[in-house]
């Protein structure tokens, strides 16, 4: 009888080990996905590099973009990455309310970033500088817009997570989801740093 219980215990332990194994698979798979996303952005950066001088007689990056505005966007996004990290830390010590509040702060910062980006887009479109104008603007809208689309997906993801946390407790799945999400969010931060450097900084000094 006792040996039976022992076997069951061993088998349960094996199942727990299997679950950890599964987590490590998911984490590795997600890293691979991020790398493929990196290739995707690399292609868009290459496109922008090829087309950034093809203004077809229109205004150039130097004339169109405002550095302080882009810097504000950058700071907001960097802060959101920091608060996202705080949410992960809170989750590891199972403090549910803290996780919810830090995630909400991240969410609000993400929304602010996105609305600033959309404001810039509509300002450009209103001044006859939309994506129809030239190869340069097509590649600008696509590169920055693809980043914005990723941010939108991240916001949706956060929304679902906050909702689930609100209803349930912090379990293994939640921590795993939150880990993956924070990887995603930091990755978008890194991509934005490249956008800021290549599009706004280099564009601002007129390279």
């Amino acid at each position: 009888m006792s040996s039976d219980i022992e076997t069951i215990a061993i088998k349960q332990a094996a199942h727990v080990a299997e679950k950890h194994e599964e987590d490590s698979k998911t984490l590795f798979g997600f890293w691979l996905y991020l790398m493929t996303d990196c290739v995707l952005f690399a292609s868009l950066f290459a496109t922008y590099a090829v087309l950034h001088n093809n203004t077809f007689g229109g205004q150039s990056a130097h004339q169109l973009f405002s550095l302080p505005y882009a810097l504000t966007e950058t700071l907001i996004l960097l802060t959101s990455s920091f608060t996202c990290g705080l949410a992960v830390l809170a989750a590891q010590s199972k403090r549910k309310n803290q996780v919810i509040s830090w995630l909400s702060v991240t969410f609000v910062l993400g929304i602010s970033f996105l609305s600033m980006e959309l404001t810039e887009f509509s300002r450009l479109a209103a001044s006859n500088n939309s994506w129809h104008r030239s190869g340069f603007l097509s590649s600008f809208f696509t590169l920055v817009g693809t980043h914005g689309l990723h941010i939108t997906i991240g916001l949706l993801w956060m929304f679902v997570m906050i909702f689930r946390l609100y209803k349930g407790s912090i379990g293994r799945t939640t921590i795993r989801q939150l880990t993956l999400f924070s990887l995603f969010w930091h990755f978008l931060d890194v991509i934005w740093i490249f956008i800021f450097t290549i599009v706004y900084l280099l564009g601002g000094i007129g390279v």
Partner: protein, 662 residues
């Protein structure tokens, strides 16, 4: 009222229905076939079975079978396109103009290339990988079974979309890679190019997910003791190919998206004016396209490695050099894309660099060829039909490879660019390499999947027909190419004297069709007489790798006890060792539950693609919301695993082990 209706359906109207008798015939024939299948399923009351056993399955073996079924259907469609092309070029000379109009001919050419590469080639490849890879490395499934089912349904619905173009609207007439500015809205105002973009986009995302899935499977789920250098060669080749998928397919996603943005939102990436750059498209598409060729060929190399070793009853010669050759090919394949457009005018030095890089690829490929030959040397060779495919492959592939090295010399390429010589070259590589490899693989692993072997005699006849037919069909094209015949040519002058060679090529194609017919007959006869070729041992070929250590067909969980590996060709070693490994007792197995989410993700992706092609914006919103909702529901729903208990395993295993409990 009519106006409103027109708005609701976007660009779609009654003119989208087929107008030419050939297309109409194909559409009616196809629709009758689909209706007949639906009627048969309804009559046999098999809908529940279909849904529970196949549509919602997450089991890699069933997904593999479904991949192969879709791929074979697409292969038949691509082959009928090829038949029309051969017929047209053999007859459309001088005052005769053949059956197809120039525009139709261009559509047929584009559809043939697209379907054969994306749906026949990729489908057969993912099908075979799904069927055997987890078994081969001693795993119970792939790393992400739900993602696997999603990949399949994206692939299948991509195939549905490309076939919809036959009946609703038209297909692209801009070649299989849709070069701009021809593929831009200005020069291709119809929906053909949009169909091309969205069917490839949907299938391509599926391929990318599969790539990630198999990399994780190979790196994280090998049987205990199977270090990387103890893996079967097929696993190595899949790892190489999937690495290429992970790094190449995002580029395809971007390229297709940019072309779609140009066509749908009026952007100017590749426009002739407005600061667009058409050559950028050609660079981007080949940065994906060249690795794609190796994505298709590497698993075929892996299959040949397994087959040659098994049927020579010998260890694979030069295992380590094979592994290095694979990774050399993976690495080099990213550095040669420019050889597809030496004539772009990048300058002599750039062309020289890419020319030399291209020639370098012949080195690891040559290493592999010699390793296979040395594996056969002094082996106890059994000339089964997979070996016949292999012999045809070695001969033709080497010939085509030499033609490739020839074209890697830029000055020669300037002469042969866009000629039939090039067409003959890449068909030699893809038909004899990829297709023969996958045919051999299907024959080889068929008994593992279904529990009985395919008819050998018909298989051999089919292989001979393919080899002879191929030589007759494509050697004339090499000669015609040197004589100046260009590709995608729907008509030529009688004074050129090309017709006899085109007729020979047509005869060759007919012999290939006989081979294809024999293969279909082979499957029918084999199912008919399946009791004669039943595989009760699980090891019908006296093979070497782990997939043969389990029953044919394997149980849902593949292995009741995970095999322990301590050398290469693990199964061969365990068969021939005197000491029997001690059996452990069974433990419960956690297996993924069925799910319909993958099917719906595919269906909503199809909806999105179709609505963008026809500018039906309300349908786009529905498709998009459906997709997002399916993903959210899937990720937030509870337990995705079921338990197979010890008593259930014993029920399956004890009769197999001859009544003894493990």
């Amino acid at each position: 009222m009519m106006n409103n209706l027109a708005n609701i359906l976007g660009k779609l109207n009654v003119h989208a229905l087929p107008s030419s008798p050939i297309t109409a015939g194909a559409v009616i024939g196809g629709s009758i076939a689909v209706l007949a299948v639906i009627a048969l399923i309804t009559y046999k009351k098999r809908w529940t079975w279909l849904y529970k056993e196949w549509i919602t399955t997450t089991n890699h073996k069933k997904i593999g079978v479904m991949y192969i079924i879709v791929a074979v259907l697409m292969l038949l469609r691509g082959a009928s396109d090829a038949g029309m092309m051969r017929l047209q070029q053999a007859t459309s000379v001088g005052s005769a103009h053949g059956l197809l109009s120039p525009n139709m001919f261009q559509q047929v050419v584009s559809a043939h290339g697209t379907i054969m590469i994306f749906f026949a080639g990729m489908g057969l490849m993912f099908g075979l990988i799904n069927l055997v890879l987890p078994l081969m490395i001693g795993a119970r499934d792939v790393a992400f079974p739900f993602m696997n089912s999603t990949s399949f349904w994206l692939f299948a619905f991509g195939a549905v979309l490309i076939n919809l173009s036959l009946g609703i609207g038209e297909f692209s007439a801009a070649g299989w890679l849709a070069y701009p500015p021809l593929s831009e809205l200005k020069y291709s105002p119809g929906v053909g190019v949009d169909y091309w973009i969205w069917s490839l986009q949907i299938a391509g995302i599926g391929s990318l997910l599969s790539g990630i899935n198999f990399i994780v499977t190979i790196l994280k789920m090998r049987a205990p003791g199977m270090t990387l250098m103890k893996m079967p060669m097929f696993a190595w080749s899949v790892l190489g190919a999937m690495t290429l998928v992970a790094f190449a397919f995002p580029i395809l996603t971007v390229t297709l998206t940019l072309l779609a943005l140009d066509r749908t939102l009026g952007m100017h990436f590749f426009s002739a004016g407005y600061g667009g750059n058409a050559m950028m498209y050609i660079n981007l598409i080949w940065a994906w396209g060249h690795p794609e060729v190796y994505i298709l060929i590497l698993p075929a190399f892996g299959i040949f490695s397994e087959i040659v070793s098994t049927f020579s009853s010998k260890r694979l010669f030069g295992y380590k050099s094979m592994v290095w050759a694979i990774w050399a090919i993976v690495f080099l394949s990213y550095g040669v894309w420019l050889h597809h457009f030496f004539t772009m005018g990048a300058g002599a030095n750039v062309n020289a660099v890419f020319g030399i890089a291209t020639m370098l690829i012949a080195v690891p490929t040559g290493v592999k060829i010699f390793n296979w030959l040395f594996t056969m040397y002094r082996g106890r060779i059994r000339f089964t039909s997979p070996m016949i495919w292999f012999m045809g492959f070695v001969f033709l592939f080497t010939m085509g490879g030499v033609a490739g090295v020839l074209m890697a010399v830029p000055p020669i390429d300037f002469q042969l660019h866009n000629s039939l010589f090039l067409v003959a070259h890449f068909h030699t590589m893809i038909v004899s390499g990829v297709l023969f490899g996958y045919f051999a693989g299907i024959t080889y692993w068929f008994p593992k999947t279904f529990g009985f072997r395919l008819n050998e005699k018909l298989g051999k006849y089919a292989a001979y027909c393919w080899i002879v037919g191929f030589i007759l069909a494509f050697l004339p094209l090499y000669i015609l190419g040197i004589m100046g015949a260009t590709r995608r040519m729907d008509h030529y002058s009688a004074s050129l004297g090309w017709q006899p060679l085109f007729i020979v090529a047509g005869i060759g194609a007919s012999i290939i069709f006989i081979g294809l017919g024999l293969q279909i007959l082979q499957v029918i006869v084999s199912i008919w007489k399946r009791n004669e070729t039943k595989d009760l041992s699980g090891d019908p070929w006296s093979a070497r790798t782990l997939e043969w250590s389990t029953t044919s067909p394997p149980p849902e969980y593949n292995f009741a006890l995970l095999p322990v590996v301590n050398q290469r060709d693990a199964y061969w070693a365990s068969k021939h060792s005197k000491t029997k490994t001690e059996n452990d007792s069974y433990s419960p197995i956690y297996s993924p539950k069925n799910t319909s989410s993958g099917f719906f993700i595919g269906l909503f992706s199809l909806t999105i693609g179709f609505s963008i092609i026809w500018h039906i914006w309300w349908l786009l919103i529905i498709g998009f919301l459906g997709l997002v909702l399916t993903i959210i529901l899937r990720t937030t729903s509870g337990e995705h695993e079921k338990v197979i208990t010890v008593s259930q395993i014993e029920k399956i295993e004890i009769p197999l082990n001859g009544g003894t409990k493990a």
